[in-house]
Symmetry: C3
Subunit: 482 residues, 3 copies
């Protein structure tokens, strides 16, 4: 009976508050009932966050977050890009132009955001924000021009309280372990500070060597020189350079790292012989290289990183296919990460073959693949991950970390790769407050997917319960060796 | 109670007439109820038709349409292609071969069409036709071999009546404004005639300069010469040629044009400097050019058109990616537009970059993108339109102007670009009688999409009502500056 | 009332047995009811299997199948690939390395498979297997570590009985006609034996000439020599070589063949003139050719095969786009068909143009296209098949021969190509016991698709009944001229 009542009076909950308790579940009542049952099983599981971009200084220093605008609007490229797409300028939004300090009043920026909140209808940002507003800040009327100031005051007032300090939120969010991402050149001082502190929660780093691998990275040659100093290695030779990676990976492992991450423009790999690779290294390190050399060096280094992963057991992640900073003018005036990164078609079958022929059958290697090209899910990624033992598929990424995106991912991947060649959820965010909202969304969508399969006789309920646990918790922990 | 009755006795309406009153709505009763409510809000809104191919002489001359075959079958490439794909010849269908007059009896053609009407099951053509048969001509038993003659007589008899003249239909269809599409060389006499008449309804033109921009267009050099004469410009120089565009666009603007349209094979753009562009123009105008030159000239001209749009405020549309007249034999014997235009993979991220770096952040530019490559929706188009302020996404086009196609469009676009970077519906048709059917379909599919989002807690009902209005009416009017 | 009871107590059936009687049907009760009605209409129709890979010796010799492991696990690359992807080796699974005999105990392999049966959750393999276990072997508790031995014994015990001999199963499966696939060099002795026997069931062959068409095929030159001997043709000249095809196709036609099949890496076609083609043939036959020559020869031969099909009426099938044996190590150690064939992006619009300009409008040609690149469904394949009279679309193939895959196929293809440019279902399998399961799945998914269209007012029930018959039986029989 309760189910039926849910169905006939749904709008009451929904119109009176920000969150429908049955959000993202199937509409049909029997499937919805199954989804509710599955979600109850996993809703309270601890959060495993094996890949993300929160700032470790938050946990090390435990200082209060600033105001609503600085916490929620300005660092979120999802919000900036949508507002810019509808005619606001980055200046209006307080983003410094050419490094000059922006003096825009944060309350004015908040009001501008609130007035345009309808633009986010149908986007995951809207769902994450409403979840944060409702569950974290206790707000229950929709954000808009009329509620902008009330929101601003309520959020700021709460951010000043002790229970809103980063460590308190970490505990409240029920995070079992979170991974941050640091440059290979980072000294990891905040991770050291966390480890040395009496706060016993698990924050691990991730080895991200793009700045010393990508010849197109700003300051590449200097970075490699510094890399040599940090590791006491001779990074003027290829073998010394590879040793520097080995040494630095150990440094990261000691700060909890279980994984590396690689943000290349493509997923191309190569398997040059030592003399070819050494000659190529000589070119890129002296700056005497073409675009094709740079691409080949990145390709060669993916294979080298995979080989070292076989040795040291770090899980490898590849996040390819983003055309970073597509607008020259935005890049020139405002810099990186302002919402102008655009996906491109990405090939995996040809691109990964050199690496896979080298180490694709190694039992100790885990290589997690991501994509911004959804056409690769069923055509390339699921077939590859459903065959090569080293491969696993990362969750729906970036623009597809969304209800429709996650549902497409399951529909396109599962029949060929199954569930056990996937690795659970990544929140992949620097928006700390959105972490519970993101895991909530992912768990709900997975439960909706499983409920539909149960309702259509493709899975038994007992199997779906086990899978719901695995997708929400177990697979991430296992794949990332946490 | 009424809802429940609808659900238990659905086939009664459906089997007795041509149209299910709940067609295209979600099946589940609560979501269906929401869709019904939303559709009631928008069903009677006037039609905004900002892009299409109806013939302005119809409205200018207001002559009766001919018989059912000439009105419905022969001009509709959707119908011709399907019948040909199943073994009929274009001769059988009355299409003149090599310009010779076809002597096929229109009633015979109608009978052939009616006998094969089952081929259209599951296609949008079938829905548009049934809507037209039912709501316009009052027919209520299915078209087939047994009803062919009755249909033919009923339609022809009605077409002869005054209430079936073009202007009467325009009013009956509740069209607020319709845009036609004319070549840059067209003298727009029919638009002048409409403006000069006492019939006070809004028919506007659209500037389509393919014939003077595309070096591969039949008679290109002569077209450019005529273009110079029409505008009193020296179209032997690049600057004179660009001036001719400026002048001719003003001529179109005075006949109501608010937009331009560009049907290029690809979406490639370029930003050559003046001397390079002038040299290229010299090549293409003298016919001394390669295929690559022609492609580069088209690319350069998209950027020039965008620059002039910044000046004169005409909204720019790009319809790329059709391989026109794919069959040599069909083209040779029967000519263009006979259903053998086939989509091709289309890239936008790289192709549009030159234009976007020139004018992508201009506040006065609106550039509406279309695609025949659905893989670009979530990978390229939504990310681009969700960032660049000049970009908007045109509705699902051509083969995808269909229930499944429109639903995929919303599912793939909304989470990244939202609703407000889309521009409502285009009927894009030369089939005048199908216009109400096409808008009916689009409104129903959008209401179904919104209803599902409400039912799953992703939108509030009040928001969905506002969105339903915007998608059916407001966005088209605003985006096209009508 | 019965419908409603089904809906409220669904898990009873499902948890107590392996098969939900409503599996794959829509969840909502009205649509489910329509799907049930449609499925009742087609469930008992005979099986038409126009394309597959069962072994004709089974029907000719009628010997008992071996044990469960040899019948079900070892020959099924879907199973091998998933188990390998999760860390098992092909050695563990009894696959001979470097041709050496495997000494692995089949019961041990069966146990390994059973312990890992959860890996197949959500895959079509799981549904096919459960259907086989339940309907063929009468098993009704789930396969797992605890039931492995019971399964093994039950299956083996039954396989030894007369009613499990190949001919008995053929009759029990209600197969009206099955096509096998043989190399152009095969002597078709088993087909002769079947024809000569008193067993009056229809097993036909299919002409698969890859080994004498693809210059990259192992032993190509020798194959062509043997081809000449078999046909008493001079296969050292191009015209003699083409004659050999004509003669051999007749040999196959006499053993029931109605179709040819071509498994090229791409769908590229060519229309060289005779002297060019002869020169190219000279190159490839002497081994003095580049990769590009080999690709061009395969392309030319697709057009030649189409021309001969116009003469002899054999239906032509193209299965392009698989990157065969992607892992060098697996290929070297275990050989072909071990689950490491990976799809690649495939173009059809440009690739097929030469062939289509030659014979695309021929009334006597049927050319059935398949794809492993789902992006081609709506962008290329449906638009092509919805125009060219020779083209038909094969069903969802290989990785997409699955519930989600088949549903996507209908959703992406139908609106442009309709139902009548498709050809029903292919089981395309060497797993004999899975044939009823595969047709069951396809019929259910098609009924679910049609039911949804009826429930949403896009089709009338009477039309859906007719379509369900056509999709399950009529279209395959007609398209393959069986």
């Amino acid at each position: 009976m309760e189910l039926f009542e849910d169905m006939t009076k749904p709008s009451r909950n929904q119109e009176n508050g920000l969150l429908d308790p049955n959000r993202l579940f199937p509409v049909e009542s029997r499937a919805r009932g199954i989804a509710q049952m599955l979600f109850e099983e996993v809703e309270q599981l601890p959060i495993i966050s094996p890949h993300g971009h929160t700032d470790p200084s938050w946990y090390a220093e435990n200082k209060a977050f600033g105001n609503a605008t600085d916490l929620i609007v300005k660092p979120d490229h999802y919000l900036l890009r949508m507002l810019v797409s509808q005619g606001m300028s980055l200046d209006d939004l307080g983003i410094p132009r050419n490094g000059a300090t922006s003096e825009t009043d944060p309350l004015q920026i908040w009001r501008l955001f609130a007035e345009h909140y309808h633009l986010f209808r149908g986007t995951p940002s809207r769902m994450w924000l409403d979840h944060t507003f409702s569950t974290l800040f206790g707000l229950d009327s929709p954000l808009g021009a009329d509620t902008a100031d009330q929101y601003y005051e309520t959020i700021n007032e709460q951010l000043a309280r002790p229970e809103f300090l980063p460590r308190a939120l970490f505990e409240r969010f029920n995070i079992e372990v979170i991974a941050t991402t640091e440059s290979a050149l980072d000294n990891l001082e905040y991770h050291d500070a966390i480890l040395a502190s009496d706060w016993n929660h698990r924050v691990v780093t991730t080895y991200r060597p793009d700045s010393v691998i990508d010849p197109d990275f700003e300051g590449f040659a200097g970075n490699v020189r510094k890399f040599g100093e940090l590791t006491s290695s001779d990074t003027t030779s290829y073998s010394g350079y590879l040793d520097a990676h080995r040494i630095r990976r150990q440094y990261f492992r000691k700060r909890g790292a279980t994984a590396t991450d690689h943000g290349h423009p493509t997923s191309r790999t190569a398997a040059l012989d030592v003399s070819e690779a050494s000659a190529l290294f000589e070119k890129v390190i002296t700056g005497d290289h073409t675009d094709a050399d740079a691409e080949l060096f990145r390709a060669q280094m993916l294979t080298e990183m995979a080989r070292i992963s076989v040795e040291d057991g770090l899980v490898m992640q590849i996040h390819p296919g983003s055309w970073r900073n597509h607008s020259n003018e935005i890049m020139r005036d405002y810099g990186r990460d302002k919402g102008f990164d655009i996906p491109s078609p990405t090939n995996y079958v040809e691109a990964l073959k050199p690496l896979l022929d080298e180490v694709g059958l190694e039992p100790n290697l885990t290589l997690i693949l991501f994509t911004l090209d959804e056409t690769a899910y069923s055509r390339e990624l699921a077939p590859l991950a459903g065959a090569y033992p080293c491969l696993r598929l990362g969750p729906a990424w970036w623009f597809y970390d969304s209800p429709e995106g996650m549902m497409r991912y399951r529909q396109l991947v599962t029949e060929t790769a199954g569930f056990y060649n996937t690795v659970g959820f990544n929140d992949d965010t620097r928006a700390f407050c959105s972490i519970p909202a993101r895991h909530d969304m992912a768990r709900r969508v997975d439960c909706a997917f499983l409920a539909d399969y149960v309702a259509r006789g493709l899975l038994r309920e007992t199997e779906a319960v086990e899978l719901a646990h695995d997708l929400a918790y177990g697979l991430a922990k296992k794949a990332y060796r946490l």
